[in-house]
Symmetry: C2
Subunit: 115 residues, 2 copies
């Protein structure tokens, strides 16, 4: 997967619900389901150029949303902090604190998994 | 502060950047700066009814964004997990692990403060 595909796939997870339906569908088909422009055109019964234009508009919308809201940037910070917590907790290797350490790790994993 | 004011103030922090400029200004003046509708009308040189209509549209946009993206709901989950981590780490009262415990707390506080 190209880096571009990877990035738009992630931004779609955050902001896909804010796109117009047809733009969301096009981004999903192109970046997540790996359809070609021609395949999307056939599926949606519009021209290949129409798909291309809608895709570019959708990409710009996703980038604009991230510029304004920086959800991915924030998530990366939370992720890093939570991963550090898991690592640090793993250093506390003591039967007496085993319960607390396991619970700390479980709470950090919630943050990592929720996004 | 009424609960409604509190909620729209919070949603404005998350989604204010997605509102049209005049809507964002009206929400900010009304919910954060405590202007009356008439004061906003005078400030913006539009009718009181115009301010009211724009305010209602902006409130609906904020609620729609939260329904779609649930950022506040997600943040509350991260906040709760991070607060639990601070509490659990505080139970590990042992000179040997003092450094790790302090670092765990510091990482959790980053999550709490960043929102």
């Amino acid at each position: 997967m190209s880096e571009k595909k990877f990035i738009y796939g992630i931004l779609y997870d955050y902001y896909g619900d804010l796109l117009k339906d047809n733009q969301a569908n096009i981004i999903d088909m192109y970046y997540n389901l790996d359809y070609s422009l021609s395949e999307i055109a056939e599926e949606m019964n519009i021209s290949r150029q129409g798909v291309y234009d809608a895709l570019k508009r959708a990409e710009k919308s996703l980038t604009d949303y991230e510029d304004k809201m920086k959800l991915h940037e924030k998530y990366e910070k939370h992720l890093k902090a939570a991963e550090n917590i898991v690592k640090l907790a793993s250093c506390i290797d003591d039967e007496k604190y085993k319960g607390a350490v396991e619970q700390i790790k479980a709470e950090a994993v919630k943050i990592i998994n929720e996004g």
